[in-house]
Each structure stands twice: as C-alpha cells, then as structure tokens.
C-alpha cells in the first residue's frame, strides 16, 4: 500500500467521508450525547476505540469468517469490544459512564461501526483497516465535538463544564434539550452545504446507500434503488 493511499484512507474519514456530517451515519449518539463537550468527546473516543479494535479484528479474520455468517460474526465482535470499552470506562471514568449511560451500550448498533466492518474491514488488509478505523473515529469525534461545542456554549453558557460568564445572559437553554439537538444538526448540515457550495457529497436525503443492511433492504423506493434507476 502506497503512502499516499494510506494517507487518503486516513483523511477520508475525517473530511471527505465524515461519518456524521457527510455520510450521516450514527445519528443517534450524535444527537443524544452532544449536550456537553465532555460527553461528546468521551462518546467519540469510545466509538473510536471500538471502531479501531473491531476493524483490526475483522480484517484479521476476513478470510476465516464465512460469507453467509458474516453479519452475526461482526455483531458479536463489535458487541464484545463495546462491552470491553464500556467496562473500562465504568472502571476508570465513572463520571463519563454516568453521562453516557445506555448510549455506551448502543455503540453496538451504531451504523458507522457495522458499516465500516461491512464496507471496509471485511475486504481490506489490517493496516488499512486500522487507519480507516482511526480516521473515521476521529471524524466522528471531531463532528460530535463541534456540535457539542455549539450546543453547550450557546445552550448552557459553558465549555466542557467550565462556565463562560459573559454568555450567561444570552444562553438559549433549549439547545441542550432534545429539539435543540435536532435543530443544530439540521443547521450544521445546511452549513456544510453552504461552505462547500453544494459540491460536497452530502446525502441530500436519508438513503440506504451506506446502510449495512442495504443488500437485504426490500423497501420499494429505497434510495439506493432510486439512485441506480
């Protein structure tokens, strides 16, 4: 693998194929854990570790895992690493564990991880898979961090728990609530469109294109089929 190629694998996840802002994967933790910067970064890093481990593991086993059994195998591997990360967080960072709660468990069903296993790690060598995992993980963390910064600074007048006194008068408390998350996410996607002048390959609608289950998907007007048509 050439140096430039591995670099592009790495940066892909951060910029061109940012899982949150471009691929629109992993919406659930993106919305739920971005009320505080600490929680968002914790979530991002936890997902990064799981992504890296599962990508490496799956890539190592890619020739052993039978084609027909691959999804159950992937799920077991991912769920295993999620539990390991969860136990480590609970033991070493109890405060973060309290903040993330059930969303830590739900990394298991985060589309990003299963999606990367299906699309990349299952077909590529170990080093590339590891780089892909780290790149995607960083992309996920950065996007979560950015969104959490907006929500926490403008919603709670603090940054990573440190109060910003002059913002206190102007805070918009609803940004830290559920509707605020949806609103900020929507605005961010619009912003990405404006910045890239509409050239970014942002999915304009929620398609099944990157969905790990797309093969099996039988919904009539699934966008993948729409695109193909």
């Amino acid at each position: 693998m050439s140096k430039t190629k591995s670099l592009s694998v790495f940066t892909n996840g951060i910029l061109k194929e940012n899982p949150v802002l471009v691929l629109i994967l992993g919406t659930c933790p993106t919305l739920a854990t971005t009320t505080t910067v600490t929680g968002a970064l914790g979530m991002g890093l936890a997902a990064l570790v799981v992504l890296l481990c599962s990508n490496v593991f799956i890539s190592l086993l890619r020739k052993i895992i039978p084609e027909t059994m691959r999804i159950p195998c992937y799920i077991v591997i991912i769920a295993g690493f999620v539990t390991i990360v969860k136990m480590l967080v609970q033991a070493l960072f109890p405060g973060l564990y309290e903040t993330l709660g059930v969303y830590l468990d739900l990394i298991t069903v985060n589309c990003i991880i299963l999606g990367r296993a299906e699309m990349f790690a299952g077909k590529n060598p170990v080093l590339a898979s590891a780089l892909d995992g780290i790149g995607m993980g960083i992309g996920f963390t950065v996007a979560l961090g950015a969104m959490a910064t907006i929500r926490e600074v403008f919603g709670a007048a603090s940054f990573a728990g440190i109060a910003i006194p002059f913002m206190e008068k102007y805070k918009i408390a609803f940004l830290t609530k559920a509707p605020g998350g949806l609103l900020v996410y929507g605005l961010l996607i619009a912003l990405v469109y404006v910045i890239t002048k509409g050239k970014a390959p942002v999915r304009t609608s929620f398609s099944c294109e990157r969905c790990p289950n797309a093969d099996k998907c039988q919904i009539e007007n699934c966008t993948k089929k729409e695109a193909a048509a």
């Binding site: 739920a32 799920i75 295993g80 059930v102 949806l182 605005l187 304009t204 039988q218 919904i219």
Partner: protein, 199 residues
C-alpha cells in the same frame, strides 16, 4: 390499583414524555429514513413495536434467570443483540411461510430492525430501570407506540414539506431534521403532565 396507576404512568411516559425517537433519539435512523409515506411509516412502526415486545419478553427472563444468576452481566450486550438478530430472522421466516400478505406489509422492514438502536435500547433500559417483567412489557409497549406515533405524525409533516419550496442549503435532510426538532419541541410540552395525571 396503585400497581395499575404505575403501569399507566409508565405507558404514557414512554409514549409521550420520554418518547424514544423524539426525546432520546433511539431509532432515529428509520425515523428519518422511512417516514416519507404514511403506509411505510406505519408499517415500520408496527414491525419495530412487534420486535421490541418479543425481544423484551425473551431478554428480560434471560437477564434475570441466566446472566444475573451466573454473574455474567458483562455478556448482556452480546446476548441481547444476538437474541434480537435471531428473533428478527425467525419472525421473517415465519411471516414468509404463514402469511405472505402480512409479510408483504411488514416483512420488508424486518432486516433493518436488527441494527435499530431503539430495540436494543429498550431491552437494556428495562434492565437498567429495574422494571419487573410486567412493567418491562408495558414500558416496551409504550416505547413501540411512541415510535409508531412519532413515525406517523412525522410522515404527515414530511408530505407537507415535500410540497413546499425550500432554500437549497436546507433541502433534504437539513429541513427534515429541523422539522423533527419542532415535533420534538411539541412533545416537550408533555413533560410534567403524565406524572401528575392522577393528581
């Protein structure tokens, strides 16, 4: 009577106050993806509710009588997700064989449900909240109904958005998310009502 009141409160909270999709963001993928048409939204909602109920009925006893008894709580995640995946497979096969009509209606949504975080979320949450079996089932029913309600409501909204003229940057997902934000805002109004429903 007290028990009944508690169950009603659990049910209503799950549907309105802690709506899985709009307040906890669980199952947001199908919410954004499969809510374009009313029939699809309803089909997905019913399928998810069904799988949720089945999954809770199986995972709760397993957690209580197997994992807790063997002191192997750390296998919870793996066991639950495998149970959900297996259930979905079995349900799909059964539907295909027994009722092709129903399969046509619901079956197509089933493969998507394995990785729906609402299903794994509800089974884990029931354990975390320390609910009894009956309470777990009621809470799961509430979550399913809440999901269905959110899907159906939102599909109506989306068909209106579809007809409107929207500025370019907001077209597609952005406006969908912002619309979802307003629906979620409306659901915030339920907070505090349900707890005091019996005075």
């Amino acid at each position: 009577m007290e028990q009944f009141k508690l169950l009603v409160v659990i049910l209503l909270s799950a549907v309105f106050v802690d709506n899985y999709v709009l307040c906890r963001f669980l199952g947001i993928c199908p919410f954004l993806g499969v809510s374009k048409k009313l029939d699809q939204a309803a089909g997905m909602g019913v399928a998810v509710s069904l799988v949720m109920l089945l999954a809770t009925a199986v995972t709760w006893p397993i957690q209580r009588f197997v994992l807790d008894a063997l002191n192997m709580g750390y296998l919870q995640n793996i066991v639950f997700i495998l149970i959900i995946a297996t259930l979905v497979q079995i349900l799909e096969m059964l539907l295909k064989k027994l009722s092709p009509a129903l399969y046509k209606g619901l079956g197509v949504y089933l493969p998507l449900i394995t990785t729906n975080c609402a299903v794994l979320g509800v089974t884990i949450n029931n354990i975390l909240d320390g609910y009894s079996f009956v309470e777990s089932m009621v809470s799961t029913l509430g979550c399913g109904l809440g999901f269905l309600l959110a899907m159906v409501l939102f599909s109506g909204l989306r068909s209106r958005i579809h007809e409107s003229k929207i500025p370019a940057p907001f077209r597609g997902l952005a406006v969908t998310l912002i619309a979802a934000s307003f629906v979620s805002l409306a659901f915030m109004g339920f907070a505090g009502i349900v707890e005091n429903i019996f005075g």
